[in-house]
Every structure is written in structure tokens, then in C-alpha cells.
């Protein structure tokens, strides 16, 4: 079924690279969604660090 991925080595390498990029983007989206509400106030800016107990970004300054 996945034979189209196995067409040749270059296809496999580039496809794997695309998958890695997509996974990284998805991880970033999911991680951003776990930040606390107060952080959305500065959503377009650098995270300020510790805001509240539920924030996944807590302490990551």
C-alpha cells in the first residue's frame, strides 16, 4: 500500500524529512495549546515564564 513511498531512495529520504517536519509542527501546535490562559495575552510574544500552575511552558524562560 505504501509502495509509492518506496519508489526510490531519494523519495524515501525526502518523504521521511517531510514527515519529521510535519511531526515537529504538530508537536509545536499541541504544546502551544497547553499553555495557560494568561499566556495567550502575550501569545504573539516571547513566553514570560511562570504564569500559573497548569502552564506546560512554566519555567521555560
Amino acid at each position: 500500500m505504501l509502495s509509492f513511498l518506496m519508489e526510490n531512495a531519494a523519495t524515501m529520504v525526502v518523504a521521511a524529512l517531510v514527515l519529521v517536519i510535519a511531526a515537529a509542527a504538530l508537536a509545536a501546535v499541541l504544546r502551544a495549546r497547553r499553555t495557560c490562559g494568561a499566556c495567550a495575552f502575550c501569545a504573539q510574544r516571547k513566553h514570560c515564564g511562570k504564569i500559573d500552575e497548569n502552564c506546560s511552558m512554566k519555567g521555560q524562560r
Partner: protein, 727 residues
């Protein structure tokens, strides 16, 4: 063990600027009051044992607004180890009111007199040592903007925090008030937190309801305290709260006389002279309109277009010429490389059309956004934005909203999420809800690529498209003000709006560039995450489907899964003039992030293979739209339900799924009605109107006029009181 230092002070006194310098953070700074609505924490750069807490700006510790509640709850409840009280040196008298309250909290206070550079420039003198002696705490001179005196002030605050001393306030009230306060302290012996006895006693004297509720005092004790208060009120012939306020101001007046030498008698400052023109009754609005038109004109039409052409058609297009050398565009470089490596054709198309086409079509607008962000940052930092709120108050009031509602909308020009959250500064629950519902009508930066794309593709780069989108947002807010106030749940008197107009100042280039970069970086990050994922998904759905009874890659996009889904919902948009499945899909993907509208068109129309000047995408769009259906599409996407992040913010601020659903339904319903009217009337004037469409548009206009002109019923008195108490 960590020490906590709270930054407290009046709105717009420079707390967040100081916080950023002390902690190395990049919190948003604006030259208008009410930028900070939540407390924020960061570690002191020079000492990681010390946590600095940036509190919202407050005028007093009387909890009238939600920011004051946040600040007071922290100062009284969490008892920081020291308070760094930021005082605006150019407005010493008003700022010291809060200082007199802070010194009563039993927490060491260090006063940082900010904006000393302006005080010195004016030729005025603040006798710091005399002020320090009178207030009984350390007073330091600083300039947060220029970075002078900050390290010393922070060091002093850390020393005080580590010393853990309970200072005694030097300020005494008049005899009979002190007598009553002493009686209250005596009656409350053992019931109050150590070191805060005097603050609680004063609050009980003022009959502060929150303190009375918090302490849960027995009825007989309250009656006993009440006797002392009444006796003092009789003697001074005033109510307790006013007595305390008057005494504080008398004390501050005496302090100012002792400690402040003004060079010149107060007259018209440069800020006053500018305000004389820009807030003039007749000139204010035309000036505001001109400033915003100019901002959007330069950002989108002139400098922006030049930069956008280079980015969209050069970097993400066929290529550009650099000092006579041709530099190929990213799509052609990647396509050639992948083809030469022997990658499968579908993968080449995924990378070039899907990823680069989708993400590149959004990133191509970065230069325009940089220019827009630069102008918005300038307007924010110089102080003109707060004047706009003042100007808009007069208009908003006529439409049932207060000028305070305009602050979230100003913030919303960058991103609706912080804009929606900034509605917390509004005391009235009804006004706050209305503001939350209407804030996303103002075009955020994510909508700018949509405006710009349609402005270029359909309207030939006409200058009026971008400003008209901005003003359409304002008109939608104003009309919503009237409409919603007609409903029982929003009915009531307008909230009062008191706002201090800060002095104008030249923003520092560093702050301007930082603000511009941070907003742009967030846009780039979004392109690299949400937009990238959506572009890949759109590419997959638009290239795979069922053809000849088999699922697989399709050669005709009309057979794709995306087309099948788009065709299912396309009929909904037929009255609005865009019933192509690609438009329906673009509108729907815009709900994830508004930039997706552009990236979806980019993927579907193979932006990676665009010809020079983006003509292919523009050509396809101009074939699909008439000018009025294009404007209807634009209006619908600007006013309808915002992106998921903004809906999440609405949910958080409304604290109710029901209210969130109402907000989203109202926004989408209004967008649909306006877009329908634009398209149908446009078609009518172009001689292509249908009787059914025209009748529907007339019905919408009639309904709108009825709601607009219907007499407002007065709000029930009981409901008003309940609302007021809840705030």
C-alpha cells in the same frame, strides 16, 4: 528560598518596561493605561533567587476594577517580601495616593520615581531625600525607558525583601480618625494577619465589603465597629470613605509642597498643544481616519506592495534580480533539486505546491506586515492610541459602548486573542461581553494577507481596500453596540470611562523594532506550524479522491476529497456570490487560522508554479469573483467567526459555552447578512441582480433598520443593581 518583589503603581507608570529590563522578558508595552490585565512573573536577571511580579496598573487598593482586584489579592493575600512602587515623576501627586496605601500593608516599600529624565528636562526638582524621610521608605530616581537607576532600585528592593522588616507607616490621619482606627485595631485584636492590622483597620473603617466578607466577623463585632465609624462621621460631617480619601489627599498636598519644586507655573505642555488639535471636537475624527488610511496605505499599497512583490513573486515565485544577478525563487530551486535527485512526482508536487505554495503564499506578506507592525508600534508607543480611545469614547457612547471597549480593539489589530483578553479592564459585565463579541471584527494581522490578496487580485491594488476593511470592522462594532443593547441581556446604562492621557514621547527605535519583530516572529511561527500542517492536509485532500471507482491520486481536482466536501457546503455561500467549492473550503480552513484562506488558494491554484507577478493566482481569483462578490467574500471572512485560538479566548473570557456559542453565531450571522447585502446590491447596481437576491438583501436591510431604530426599553432597576454588585 525565593523572594518575591511586586511591581505596583498607577497605570502607564512604566511597570512593564521596568519588568522587562529586570527580568529580560519581552512583555507587551504600550503608552496607554491598562496594557497589563494579569500579573506576570519572571526571575530577576541579576539574582535568580528573586521573583519579580508585574501587577496590573491600579490607582488605589479599593477593588473597583478587575485589575485592582488582581493586584490587591496578590499584595494582601500572597504578601510579597517587598514592593517596588513605580511612581510617575511627572504626575507625582496622583501617584502618591496609591503609595500612601501601599505603605500601610506592612510590607517593605521601595519607591522608584520613574520618568526622571522628563522631570529634569522640564526643569522641575523632586527632593528625593526629603520625600524619603516623609514617607518612611527608600525613594530612588529611575528612568525605565533609558535604563538609568534601575539596578540600584532593584538592589534596594532585594535588600529590603531579604531583611524581612515590617515597616511602620509615617502618615497619620487626623485625631478623630486615628482614634477610630485604633479602636477598630483593638476590637480586632488576634483576628488580623500580623503586620497588616493597620491596613485592615482602615479598610474596615471605610466599610470595604470585600474585607468584611473575607474576615467573616460576627454581627455584634461589626455593630461595635460601626459605632466608632459613625461617631467619627458625625464629628467630621462626611462619610468614612470620603474622610479617608480627603485626608490622604491633604497629606499628599503637604508632601508635594515640601518635596517638589516646579520650575514654571503649570501651562500648556507640548502634549497639551498636540491634544488641542488631535482631540479637537471637529478635527479628531478626520485626523484619526487620515492616520489609519495612511498607515494602511503605506503598509499595503506603497512600501508594502513593493516589498510584497519581491517576497511573493521573487523569493516565493520565479526569482528576482540582485545587482544584475538573477536569483531563482525558492519553488524553482527546490523543484529542480528534487527532480534532479529523482524524487517521485507526487512528492515534488507536495513539497512545491503543498508546502512551499501554502506557507510561501502566507510568508510573502511578511514585508507588508513588518511595515504595518512598525506603524502600529509607533502609534502605540508615542501615545496616540490612547487619544484614539478618548476620541472613540464619544462615538462609542452614542452606540451603547464605552471608550474602554476600544482598547481591546486596538490590541486586537495585532491579534484578536490578547484583544479579547484585554476586555477584562471593563467593569460592567454587559459591556465586557459585548466587547468580547465585537473585538474580532477589527482586522487582525492574520486577516491582512486576505485583504491584500483580494486588493491586488480583484481591485488592482486600489488604495481604499485595506482602510475600508478596517473601517468596516469599526462600523460592525458600532452597529453591534446598538443592536445588542436592544436585547434584554445587554440592556443598561453605559459604563463610565475615565482614562488618563499619557504625555506624548518619541518611542525608542529599540522598542519599535522589538515590537515589530515579536509580532512578525509570531506570524512566522504560525506559518511554520498551523499553516504548514493545514497546507499539507489541503494538498492531500485536493490531490486524492475517488476516480473511476478507485481511491488514489486524481488528475482532476474536481474528483478530489476536498472538492467533494467543498461541494457539500458551497451552496451555503451561493447568495454571497462565491459558490465555488474552493472558496467554501478556503473560508472553512480560515477558521483554523485566517492566513489559511490565502494558503488554501495558494495550494489549490499551485502557487509554487506561479508565473511572474503572481498573475496566475490573481487570474484564477478574478475569474471566480466579480468585484462585489470578492468584497462580500472579504467582508464575510473579516467579520465571521474568528480562528480557533480566538474562539478559545472568547470561551475563557465568557466562562460559558452558551455565551461562546452565542458570540460565534452572532458574528457569523452578521457576517453572512452583510456579505449577502454587499453581493446582492452590488449585482443589482451592475445590472445582474436577481429578484430573489434583491428581496433577501432588502429584507436584511429592513430588519437591520428596525433593530437599529427600535426604541430602547429601560433596564429593570433590580437587574441593574444585581449586575453592579457582581462586578
Amino acid at each position: 528560598m525565593a523572594y518575591k518583589i511586586a511591581l505596583a503603581g498607577n497605570p502607564n507608570s512604566g511597570k512593564t518596561t521596568l519588568f522587562n529590563v529586570l527580568t529580560g522578558s519581552n512583555q507587551f508595552v504600550g503608552n496607554w493605561p491598562g496594557v497589563t490585565v494579569e500579573k506576570k512573573e519572571g526571575y530577576l536577571k541579576s539574582d535568580h533567587e528573586v521573583v519579580v511580579v508585574d501587577l496590573p496598573g491600579i490607582y488605589s487598593l479599593s477593588p473597583y476594577t478587575s485589575e485592582e482586584v488582581v493586584a490587591r489579592r496578590f499584595l494582601v493575600g500572597e504578601h510579597p517580601d517587598a514592593i517596588l512602587n513605580i511612581v510617575d515623576g511627572t504626575n507625582l501627586e496622583r501617584n502618591l495616593y496609591l503609595t500612601t496605601q501601599l505603605t500601610e500593608l506592612g510590607i517593605p516599600v521601595v519607591i522608584a520615581v520613574n520618568m526622571m529624565d522628563v522631570v529634569t528636562k522640564n526643569g522641575d526638582v523632586i527632593h528625593i531625600h526629603r520625600l524619603s524621610d516623609e514617607l518612611g521608605c527608600e525613594v530612588m530616581e529611575i528612568s525605565a525607558l533609558k535604563g538609568t537607576g534601575i539596578a540600584e532600585a532593584a538592589r534596594t528592593a532585594v535588600e529590603k525583601a531579604k531583611a524581612r522588616m515590617h515597616p511602620e507607616p509615617k502618615h497619620n490621619f487626623s485625631g478623630s480618625v486615628e482614634h477610630a482606627i485604633a479602636h477598630i485595631e483593638e476590637a480586632m485584636a488576634g483576628r488580623l494577619p500580623k503586620g497588616q492590622e493597620r491596613w485592615y483597620a482602615i479598610k474596615l473603617f471605610e466599610r470595604d465589603m470585600r474585607v468584611i466578607e473575607e474576615l467573616q466577623l460576627p454581627a455584634e463585632l461589626i455593630a461595635h465597629i460601626e459605632e466608632d465609624i459613625r461617631s467619627c462621621e458625625r464629628e467630621l460631617d462626611d462619610d468614612a470613605e470620603s474622610i479617608i480619601t480627603n485626608e490622604r489627599y491633604n497629606y499628599i498636598t503637604a508632601l508635594i509642597r515640601e518635596c517638589y519644586t516646579r520650575k514654571n507655573a503649570p501651562g500648556m505642555t507640548i502634549s497639551d498643544k498636540i491634544d488641542y488639535i488631535v482631540t479637537n471636537r471637529w478635527l479628531a475624527l478626520p485626523i484619526f481616519a487620515a492616520v489609519m488610511c495612511l498607515t494602511y496605505y503605506i503598509s499595503v499599497t506603497t512600501v508594502g506592495t513593493w516589498a510584497n512583490d519581491w517576497a511573493a513573486n521573487g523569493v516565493f515565485g520565479d526569482g528576482w534580480t540582485f545587482f544584475g544577478h538573477f536569483v531563482p525563487g525558492i519553488p524553482s530551486v527546490v523543484e529542480n533539486a528534487l527532480t534532479n535527485w529523482g524524487c517521485a512526482d507526487w512528492l515534488v508536487r507536495l513539497v512545491v505546491d503543498g508546502i512551499i505554495g501554502g506557507v510561501g503564499s502566507v510568508l510573502g506578506f511578511i514585508p507588508q506586515l513588518l511595515v504595518l507592525f512598525f506603524f502600529l508600534a509607533f502609534l502605540e508607543a508615542c501615545g496616540y492610541m490612547s487619544r484614539i480611545a478618548f476620541i472613540m469614547d464619544r462615538i462609542f457612547r452614542k452606540f451603547g459602548l464605552s471608550g474602554k471597549s476600544f482598547i481591546p480593539m486596538l490590541i486586537g489589530t495585532g491579534c484578536s486573542v490578547p484583544g479579547i483578553m484585554a476586555s477584562r479592564t471593563i467593569e460592567s459585565e454587559r459591556d465586557r461581553k459585548m466587547t468580547v463579541i465585537t473585538t474580532s471584527f477589527i482586522p487582525c494581522s492574520a486577516k491582512l494577507p486576505v485583504i491584500s490578496l483580494f486588493g491586488s487580485a480583484i481591485f488592482g491594488g486600489a488604495w481604499w481596500v485595506a482602510p475600508s476593511a478596517y473601517f468596516a470592522g469599526i462600523v460592525a462594532v458600532l452597529c453591534s453596540g446598538i443592536l445588542l443593547k436592544k436585547f434584554r441581556m445587554f440592556r443598561g446604562e453605559d459604563a463610565a470611562f475615565v482614562m488618563e492621557l499619557p504625555a506624548y514621547h518619541w518611542p525608542t527605535p529599540r522598542n519599535l523594532l522589538r515590537s515589530m519583530w515579536e509580532r512578525s516572529w509570531s506570524f512566522i511561527k504560525k506559518a511554520g506550524t498551523v499553516i504548514l500542517l493545514c497546507s499539507m492536509l489541503i494538498w492531500f485532500l485536493s490531490n486524492f479522491g475517488v476516480a473511476n471507482g478507485r481511491f488514489g491520486m486524481v488528475t482532476d481536482m474536481g474528483d478530489s476529497l476536498l472538492a467533494a466536501f467543498g461541494n457539500l457546503i458551497a451552496w451555503i455561500f451561493r447568495p454571497l456570490g462565491f459558490d465555488e467549492w474552493s472558496c467554501a473550503v478556503a473560508t472553512l480552513t480560515g477558521l483554523v487560522a485566517k492566513e489559511n484562506v490565502v494558503s488554501t488558494f495558494g495550494v489549490l491554484f499551485g502557487a509554487g508554479e506561479l508565473s511572474e507577478n503572481g498573475a496566475e493566482l490573481w487570474q484564477r481569483l478574478s475569474e471566480m469573483f466579480t468585484p462585489y462578490s470578492a468584497y462580500a467574500f472579504l467582508i464575510f471572512n473579516l467579520l465571521c467567526c474568528p480562528c480557533v485560538a480566538a474562539v478559545g479566548a472568547i470561551r475563557r473570557e465568557m466562562h460559558s459555552a452558551k455565551w461562546t456559542l452565542f458570540a460565534v453565531s452572532y458574528q457569523t450571522g452578521l457576517a453572512y447578512c452583510v456579505a449577502l447585502t454587499v453581493n446582492q446590491l452590488g449585482a443589482l447596481f451592475a445590472g445582474r441582480g436577481s429578484w430573489l437576491g434583491t428581496a433577501a438583501a432588502c429584507l436584511v436591510i429592513a430588519g437591520f433598520l428596525y433593530l437599529l431604530l427600535r426604541r430602547k426599553k429601560p433596564a429593570p432597576v433590580a437587574e441593574e443593581k444585581r449586575e453592579g454588585a457582581a462586578v
